[in-house]
Every structure is written in C-alpha cells, then in structure tokens.
Amino acid sequence: MTITLEKQGHVEIRDVSKSYNGVEVLSGVSLTLEPGEVVTILGPSGSGKSTLLRTINHLETVDGGWVAIDGELIGYEHRHGKLYELKERKVLRRRTQVGMVFQSFNLFPHLTAIENIVEAPIALKRLNRADARELALGLLEKVGLADKADSYPRQLSGGQQQRVAIARALALQPKVLLFDEPTSALDPELVGEVLDVIRELAGLGTTLVIVTHEIGFAREVSDRVVFIDRGVVLEQGSPAEVLGAPQHPRTREFLATVL
C-alpha cells in the first residue's frame, strides 16, 4: 500500500518562552515553518532546541506565547477572547498531527516491532487490527525492516530500533514530524541507515523539524537551518547562508567546534 502524506503542516511558533526553576530555557522564540519544509535546528547543548521541539507537540507546556499547527492552537482553544486549556482528549487529538522520534527511540520493549506501530492507530480507533497491520507492514518495508516485524526491540540494533520508531511515528500520518537528535544514541556505523530513512521522508510533503548534530546531513536535506543559543533564535536561513557564511559570531564559534 502507498503511504500518502498530506501537504499540510504549517507551524507557527510565536513568542514562546519557558523557564525551569527560574532559569529561562526559551525566551521569546518565534518561528514559522511552511508546509512540507525541512528545518534543522542547530545549537550547543542546553541551548533550548529540544525544549522548543517538545513545545510543538505539547509534551512541554509554555509559560508565554503560543504554538499553532494549520491555525489550530496546541494545548489551548481560542473562544470569546480567552484561551481555554484543552481537555486531555483534545490535546491528544491535536497531538496526533505531530509525530515524534526520540533520541533514545523509546520503543515499547514488551511489544514487537509491528505491535509498536499498530498500537496508536488501534488505540485511537483509526483503523481496525487488520488494516493497522497492513499499514504497519507497509511502513516497515519502507524503512527496510519488513523481516523484523515480529522481533522485540531488544533483538534489534540501535539503527533498526530507530527506524521502527520512525515507522511508528508515521503510522498516524502526521502533518509534522519532529526528530529529537535521532542519531545521537547510535554507533557511528548505524547513523547512515537512519539518515537514509529521514532523507526519503524529506520532500514527501510532511513538515520535518530535525534537531541534530549531523551538520553534513543538515546541509544536504534542509530547506532552512535555524541556529539557536540560550533560548534565542540567533540566525536562520538556507544551509548555504547559515552553514556557509554564518553572520553571528556564536554561530561561527559553534560551527568551528562541531565541524
């Protein structure tokens, strides 16, 4: 079966700020992502890039500002000039528009690869078991793991686990896919197979937001690179601009250390 990804996923991040115990992690970040765009977020560790990513699917609540996907606020509802906090059920429904791939895969270890993938579509009553399995097999084939459907995560290599995690995130056909350092927990020789899968997703219509340290990969797949430090967007533009001719001294400093 073919996997159709809708040409949607306009993400509006406006004046988002967030503090942990008085330490500001994000201070007034604004960012607009066009539908189908591939955006890489770069920045030193502790710069707030992961936190920013997690505000997009409301895993992290914001202290100020807002995030909207295709005009729908994340976590809140706009009625009569007020913002109402959404009930859990509605948060979940909006969240399914956003898929997420974690640094440490977070596959469910007690479920096989295919059970990991069918869990959400079945839980949300989107598909019956047979259709969900068919979809899952298609997705596993797409990430090159059709033969591993009945393996448990422990029986897979890190690269294979992350590919299953990507298939799991795709099962809900999200408009936006978030990658939180998807290759940082992998042995060097396994990085390539995961990047190959992400590369294939670029240009299929889903908006991809990737937090990564793989500068070469960012240069190759991104439509836009965003450099963030101490909770502020310092610079953004095409890979050639930001990576080739960085304007801000901190960007130059960062690139010098990672390249």
Binding site: M100, N106, A120
Partner: protein, 334 residues
C-alpha cells in the same frame, strides 16, 4: 574424574603434532582440576545434618504420621482450607485493586489525592494486623449502628446494627484487604516508577489515551518488578490468614487448633496445617515462575527455559552421551 583425564591424554596422543625436541605443546597436556577440600567437607556436614533430620522424621513417633494421614483430607480440615483459600483470594483481589488505586493516587498531580493515599498507607502499615482485625470485629462498640442519612447528623434513612453487618468473615476480609492494600500500593507504585519516563512520553506523543497508556504500556512493564514482590505478598497473605483464628473464623489453622484441643494431638494437627500451607505455597511459587516468564518477554533476547524444557534438554544430552560412548571407546582402542 581420573578416567576422563586419562582418556583425554589418550585422545590427544594420536593428534599430537611432531615438535622440535624440548618444546612443550601445552595444548596436548591433560588438565588436573583443583580440589575444593573445604567445599567437600562442608558439603558432607550438610548431608549428615539433613540425613539425621530425615531419619528422625521416620523414627520419632511424636510426629504422629498416622494421625496426620487420618486428618489430612478430613471434612473439617478441607472446609478450613476452603476458607483460607477464599480469604486469600478475596482479600488479595480487593487488596490489590485498592492498592492499584492508591498507587495511582500517590503518583497523581493532585496534592489532596496524594496526601490521602499517603495517610491511608501510613495508617494501615502502622497498626498491627492483629489489632486491626480485632477492631473490625468489635466495631459495634465504637459505632453501634451504621446507616445512610443526612451527613454529619444522626438522621438515618436506612440503619443496621454493626454486629449483624460486620460478621467475623467481613471483619477478616476488611482487616486483611485494607492491610494488603497499603502494602501492595507501595509495591505497585515502585513498579510504575521503575518504568523509564521516556515510555510514558512516547505513548503521550503518539496520542494514546491516558487509561490505555497505563494498562497497555506502563503496567505490563511495571509488572516485571511488581510480580516477585506481589507473590511474596500473596504467599504472606495466605499464611497470614492464620491470624484470623483470633476471631474464631473456621479457617485452616483455627480448625486444626479446635481438633487438637479436643484430641491432644498437637504436633500431628499442626503438621496437617503446615503441609497444606506448604503445598499451596509451592503451587504459588510455580505459578510465579510462569507469570514472571510471561512478563519477561521482550526484556531478554531469549526466554529462559521452563523446568520441563530443561529436563527434556538434560535427558536428550544424557541420551546422546550414552549413544556416543561405545563408539568413542572403540575409536580409542583402535
């Protein structure tokens, strides 16, 4: 041992390659295993002590095995056994159900629910079980009647005598299950805490509803650390039901007491009770092995073999050895 060493020497003599004089081929030398003298002496001591004890089991008439056999399947004992099992199952089920709720309350973001659950656990762990059961049994002294009515008044719509409402059985179930709830709450909470936070996050990111997140993602993983402790608790509860004898409820231990008070065969009747407790504990221990094995799927690359599988493997190894032995001997002599 020496035979094998000798054979090893023989086997390898034939394969030994020609070497320059003076050089030693270590790979061809027989290995002499080190001897563990202390281990052997202590082992012999243990065997002696056990043998001595077993011998007294058969020779000491005080055990009264004929009496044990006479009462083991007697109606009174079996009825008592039934009561013990009923109490264990009912109090265990209620205890773990309330315990799960308390565990979730303890983990909830509501400070009120959290404080309530904490206080419940604190209270029921503080008061000795024996005292709890006596209080429930004598609740009538404290609240002579129990009824439904207007809150904080004594205007009742329905009212009943506490003594008729809280029978000995009800007091036993109340005492055992509330006490069990307090302990199992902590075990379940510990199990849930042992699950990596990333699991909950991944489930939330996938939009899986909260209830299903708990039942399908968290609890099956928490079960791995809950199960061993839970079986400890159930076995403890099974034997703990003997405490109910203080309110004269006819469970296994009380029944054997009644019988030996009548016929003075104290030890044989205690043995009857003990043997039944041992049988039930054995059954629970076997069940534990299989339940643990079920929940360990995914955590080990290969599941550990069951005792039956292990026995089969051992037999087939021994069988192959028997079949190989004569042919090897033939080779060696040739």
């Amino acid at each position: 041992m020496t035979q094998i060493d000798a054979k090893r020497g023989l086997d390898t003599v034939a394969e030994r390659p020609t070497r320059p004089a003076g050089a030693v081929d270590f790979g061809a030398l027989p290995v002499v295993r080190s001897k563990h003298w202390v281990r052997w002496i202590l082992g012999a001591l243990v065997v002696f002590v056990v043998a001595q004890l077993v011998w007294t089991l058969f020779t000491n008439a005080g055990y009264g095995w004929p009496t044990v056999a006479k009462y083991f399947f007697s109606d009174a004992i079996l009825r008592g056994l039934g009561m013990t099992l009923t109490l264990t199952v009912v109090a265990g089920a209620i205890g773990f159900a309330i315990g799960s709720l308390l565990a979730l309350m303890r983990l909830s973001k509501s400070p009120l629910l959290n404080a309530f659950a904490w206080s419940f656990i604190w209270f029921f762990r503080s008061v000795p079980l024996l005292v709890q059961i006596l209080v429930w049994f004598n609740l009538g002294y404290l609240y002579p009647t129990i009824g439904l009515g207007i809150p904080f008044t004594t205007d009742y719509f329905v009212e009943a005598q506490t003594v008729t409402l809280v029978s000995a059985f009800a007091a036993a179930v109340l005492g055992l299950s509330l006490n069990q709830a307090a302990y199992s709450a902590e075990i379940i909470r510990g199990g849930i805490l042992s699950v990596d936070a990333g699991q909950l996050e991944a489930a939330a990111a996938l939009g899986i509803p909260q209830a299903r997140r708990i039942t399908r993602i968290i609890l099956p993983q928490a079960a791995r650390s809950i199960i061993p402790n839970a079986f400890n608790e159930i076995i403890g509860l099974l034997k703990g039901t003997s405490i109910i004898s203080v309110i004269a409820l006819a469970e296994l231990f009380y029944v054997s007491q009644v019988i030996y008070n009548r016929n003075q065969q104290v030890i044989p009747l205690l043995l009857v009770a003990v043997l039944w407790y041992m049988i039930l504990t054995t059954v629970l221990s076997i069940a534990q092995f299989y339940v643990e094995r079920y929940y360990s799927r995914g955590s080990a690359r290969v599941l550990p073999p069951t005792p039956i599988q292990r026995a089969k493997a051992w037999i087939s190894v021994q069988w192959n050895r028997l079949e190989d032995e004569p042919s090897k001997k033939a080779e060696a002599s040739a």
